[in-house]
Amino acid sequence: MRSSDYIEQAWSNLRKRKLRTFLTTSGVVIGIGALVCMFAFGQGVQRNIRDQFDELELFNYVNVSLKNRSPRPRRRHFDPDAPQAHDEQAEPNIPPGERPVVLDDSVLDEFMQIDGVEAAFPEMRFPAQIRVGDEERFTLIQVLSAGACQSGLVQFRAGGPYTTNEPNEMVISDSLLRRLGNRKPETAVGQEVEIRTVTLDFSLTSLLRMVFARGDQRLPTSNRRYPFKVVGVAERMGFGGPLPIKSDVYIPPRAAEKMRKLVLNSISEIFLPANRAAGYSMVSVKVTSPSDIPAVKKTLEERGFRTFALMDQLEEMQKGFIIMDMFLLAVGMIGITVASLGIVNTMVMSILERYREIGIMKAVGATDGDVQKIFLFESGMIGLLGGAFGLTLAWVVSVAINAIINSFSSRQGVPYIQYFNFPWWLCLGAITFSILVSLIAGVYPTLRAARVDPVVALRHD
């Protein structure tokens, strides 16, 4: 028989038993629909996480810090009579004289010379209130060197970068500007802005106020106000670092040093004086492409720095994604198993009903293989229909769920999120899988059909 004949026969036979075909196929539709829905949800979650990471360019960053910044030796290794200090014990491969002692602007300039490095800037962010006229908004300020600001890291909608690290100049994002009521970026350039920082105040007055407070117990904090001038309006908010939080304002390092502020990098920095000259606790290095990460990391580590890249965690994340996919697959497989039992049942029933017909087939020249293939094509056709409609069902359900969740979340101001993802391989894989499961389910019944004795079958009523 020709393949087209098998298909035609299968379709014709399924159409003759419409109700049974509908019910059996419905089982497959629900099974495949549930499976695809779960998988698409898993894919959606993964895509959203990856997109978020990509948007923040978190995979393009290496965070650099000094090794053993807090020079406290581990007790086990501490030996006061040892000829070398504890730093050398911790980093035996780096000669003492070559050990970096500070992360300052000169080191940042060195970082910029490394192949694959696009920008290097101190990882220093702090919360502050921004006031423009009567409008005031809370935001996160990012310290960014003039070099990094001019390097193309920041895309400008109006104005441009500050050119030195000294002045009280700032770049503000377009989105913050909008929240401050200004929808014309070009008018913001040159505007005076006040930054109000929050800092812990351990002065005697402050401590006494806290101790003797009546009813209104407050943390020992104080505010400082600093005048800044807007020189540029950035197209987008911030960029990556160890904190996946976007910053809306960039200021030069020297200006930041003069400010009292609550830096978010390390709790120990809270207690450090504002005008310390000990360099930065952490530096972010942006590479041109995530593929540059290993080489840049190696270079930095060879120079004695400690590095951290989120890229290193990608493998662990992918393992997590696989486990999640496996779990969703296992849940979805329950439906498929039930559906495949339905197919077995339908095919066995069909063979019993068409017992005589099988005898006729054999009497007129069908081989065992022909008979087997006729029924396998029917089984596969159920799988094809079930897969195609199951995919459609999954898509419809995903649209409905998306609409419901987003209608609720939009009221909370959450932007629209596509929770499901249907990549082409999932669609194709679902249909293939459905056909494959149906064929497997059809193997036993079709073997039975092939073994039918034509003499017995032709006598069968």
């Binding site: 028989m1 026969q9 087939m361 009497a363 007129v364 069908a366 081989t367 065992d368 293989g369």
Partner: protein, 235 residues
């Protein structure tokens, strides 16, 4: 024994296991049917007529003995070879017509061509032509339930002939028909035998009908041939 027969059996025996006992349905049957002859087979119920027919048609396998068709030893063919033999060499007609009830007349006639890899267009053309030959040109879209017994048997005859076989095996083709229709059906078989140079083996209880149309008749009793009568000599 005639050695130039298209169909030749030698000591053909078929026994069935029925619990602890063995039932011998056919016992040492040796016969020969020459090409172009019309052979009738008759006997009482349980005499082994249908068993003989199933063996000659390759639907069943013998317990012992041999069957040769056109010199080919079919009792030693594999399952797949037997299927091809049934498809290409023999056409079979049954008492209960054995039509596929969900198919129309033309679909039933064209059915064997599916397994012969014949293109759909040719299948339809050949089936329509044969329905015309058996006088059912206006009934090709009717299902078996919409046809009389005689018409159903004509559809079955057309189906048996659609692969242009050399041999036509008819197992009680008139068993479910009235005498007039029976006469017409056997007449049709006889005409086809003459027109298409077929070799026909027909089983029937109706001895008179067999004697009217057959060239020779064999009588079976308890699975053995008791008599072989030549009614018309070979030309």
């Amino acid at each position: 024994m005639n050695t130039d027969g298209l169909i030749q059996t030698q000591d053909l025996t078929k026994a069935y296991a029925c619990g602890p006992t063995q039932v011998v349905a056919l016992r040492d049957v040796t016969l020969s049917v020459a090409r172009g002859r019309f052979m009738g087979v008759t006997g009482a119920s349980g005499s082994g007529k249908s068993t003989l027919m199933n063996l000659l048609g390759g639907l069943d396998t013998a317990s012992s003995g041999s069957i040769r068709v056109g010199g080919r030893l079919i009792s030693e063919l594999s399952h797949a070879e037997l299927a091809r033999f049934r498809r290409d060499t023999v056409g079979m007609i049954f008492q209960s017509f054995n039509l596929v009830v969900s198919y129309s007349a033309i679909e039933n006639v064209a059915f064997p061509l599916l397994f012969a890899n014949v293109a759909k267009k040719e299948r339809i053309e050949r089936a329509a032509g044969l329905l015309q030959v058996v006088g059912l040109e206006g009934r090709q879209d009717h299902r078996p339930t919409e046809l009389s017994g005689g018409e159903q048997q004509r559809v079955a005859i057309a189906r048996a002939l659609v692969n242009r076989p050399e041999i036509l095996l008819a197992d009680e083709p008139t068993g479910n028909l009235d005498s007039k229709t029976s006469q017409q059906i056997v007449q049709t078989l006889h005409d086809l035998k003459t027109e298409q140079s077929l070799t026909v083996v027909m089983i029937s209880h109706e001895e008179a009908l067999l004697r009217e149309f057959s060239d020779e008749v064999i009588y079976l009793q308890d699975g053995a041939v008791t008599s072989h009568e030549i009614l018309r000599a070979r030309p």
